[in-house]
Symmetry: C2
Subunit: 188 residues, 2 copies
DNA sequence: CTTCTATTCTAAGCACGAGTAGAAACCGGC
DNA sequence: GCCGGTTTCTACTCGTGCTTAGAATAGAAG
C-alpha cells in the first residue's frame, strides 16, 4: 500500500500502472493479488487511508487544544493539514491529488470520508462565527473551501527550495487570520 | 480541441481515451490524426491554450485597470482567474487539473506558460508590497501560491448549488484583502 | 526429513487503446 | 457530371496492462 500511495500521488489514478507499484514494492505484479482483489480495491484502500490519516491527524491536534479559543484551533488545524499534506504520508497526498479523478464507485465511498473531514472544518468555522469573529462579507462555506483549497493545492508547487515549510505554514495562518493587506482595506 | 479539453478536464491526462474525445467531437478516433500528429500533441495543444487563455483574460482585466491602485488590480485579477476557471473555457480547466500529471516533455513546455502566468501574479504582489500594503509576516512567494491554489482548487468543489459564483468571488476577494477574522486577530 | 501453509513467482489470456493503411465520402470549381 | 483536394471512415496491427492459473519457494511445526 505504501508503494501504491507513492505511485498514486505521483502519477494519478489512471496513470498508475500495477507494474510500477510492484516495482516500488519490490515484488512482481501478481503478488499484489494475494492481498487485494483488484487494482481498484488497492487504490480505494490507499485513498481511504489517506483521508482518514488527515482526519485523524487534525482531530488529534484539535483534541490537544480542546479548550483553546476558536481562532487558535482553526490556525492549528491549518498547520496540521499542511504538515500532513506536505510532509506526512504519501497516502494523504494520494487522496488529495486523486479525489477528482476516481471512478464513480470508489468516488462515492471516498466522498463519505471527505464529508467527514469537511465537517471538522465546518465545525471550526462555526466556532469562529459563534464567537462573533467571522467577517460578515464572507460566505462561510465558500471561505472554508477556499482555505482547504489553498492547502490542497500546495503539494503542486511546494518544495523545500521554494520556501521553508515553516514559512508556508506561517503565511497560511497569517493569510487566513488577517488577509494579505496591511492597514487600509481596499475592497470594493 | 474543445472535445479534448472537456474530456481532459474531466478524466485527466492518463484517463482521457482518444475514443472518448472522438465521441464528444462526433467523429471517429482516427479523424483526429488528420489534425494532430499524436494524442500527446493534441493534449499539449489543449493545455497550452488553457493557460494562455487564463493569461490573456487576466491581462485584459488588468489592462482595463492599468491606473487603478494595486489592491484593486489584485482583486480584479482574482475575480478574473476565478471566472475563467469556474465558468470559462474548459481549456483552462484542463490545464489546471492536469498540470501535475503531464509527461515530462509536455510538462517542460507547459511550465514556461505557467511561469509566464505566475509572473503576472508576482508583479501584482510586488505592486502591493511597493505600496507598503503587504503585511510583513507573509512570505510573498508562499502567499501568492496559496492564493492561486485556493482558486485552482475551486473547480474541485464548486458548483452552482454550493454557492453562487458571485459569492465565491466576493469571498475570495474579502479573504485575500482582510482574512477571515473580524476585529481581534488571534494569531500566535 | 516431511508436510502444511503462506507467499511469491513464471507464463499465459484477454481486452483495450494508440496509431496506420487505404478506401470512401464530401464539396467547390469547372 | 467530373475532378481535385480535403476530410472522415472502416479495418487492421501492435503493444501494453490487468488478471488468472498453476508451479515454485520459504518457513514453521511435527
Amino acid at each position: 500500500m505504501e508503494a501504491a500511495a507513492e505511485v498514486l500521488a505521483r502519477k494519478g489514478f489512471a496513470g498508475s500502472r500495477l507494474s510500477d507499484i510492484a516495482e516500488v514494492a519490490e515484488v512482481q505484479a501478481p503478488a499484489i493479488y494475494y492481498y487485494f482483489q483488484s487494482r481498484e480495491s488497492l487504490i480505494e484502500a490507499v485513498v481511504m487511508e489517506g483521508t482518514r490519516n488527515a482526519t485523524i491527524h487534525v482531530e488529534q491536534v484539535l483534541a490537544e487544544l480542546s479548550d483553546a479559543d476558536p481562532v487558535t484551533r482553526l490556525l492549528a488545524a491549518i498547520e496540521g493539514h499542511l504538515r500532513v499534506a506536505l510532509q506526512g504520508s504519501s497516502f494523504t497526498l494520494a487522496s488529495i491529488r486523486n479525489s477528482g479523478q476516481l471512478p464513480e464507485d470508489i468516488r462515492a465511498r471516498q466522498h463519505n470520508e471527505e464529508v467527514k473531514y469537511g465537517r471538522i472544518w465546518r465545525e471550526l468555522v462555526n466556532e469562529v462565527a459563534a464567537a462573533g469573529l467571522l467577517r460578515e462579507e464572507l460566505n462561510p462555506a465558500a471561505a472554508q473551501m477556499l482555505i482547504i483549497g489553498a492547502m490542497n493545492w500546495a503539494p503542486e508547487w511546494w518544495g523545500p527550495k521554494v520556501a521553508p515549510l515553516e514559512d508556508v505554514i506561517a503565511t497560511a495562518k497569517a493569510l487566513v487570520a488577517g488577509g494579505l493587506l496591511n492597514a487600509e482595506k481596499g475592497q470594493r
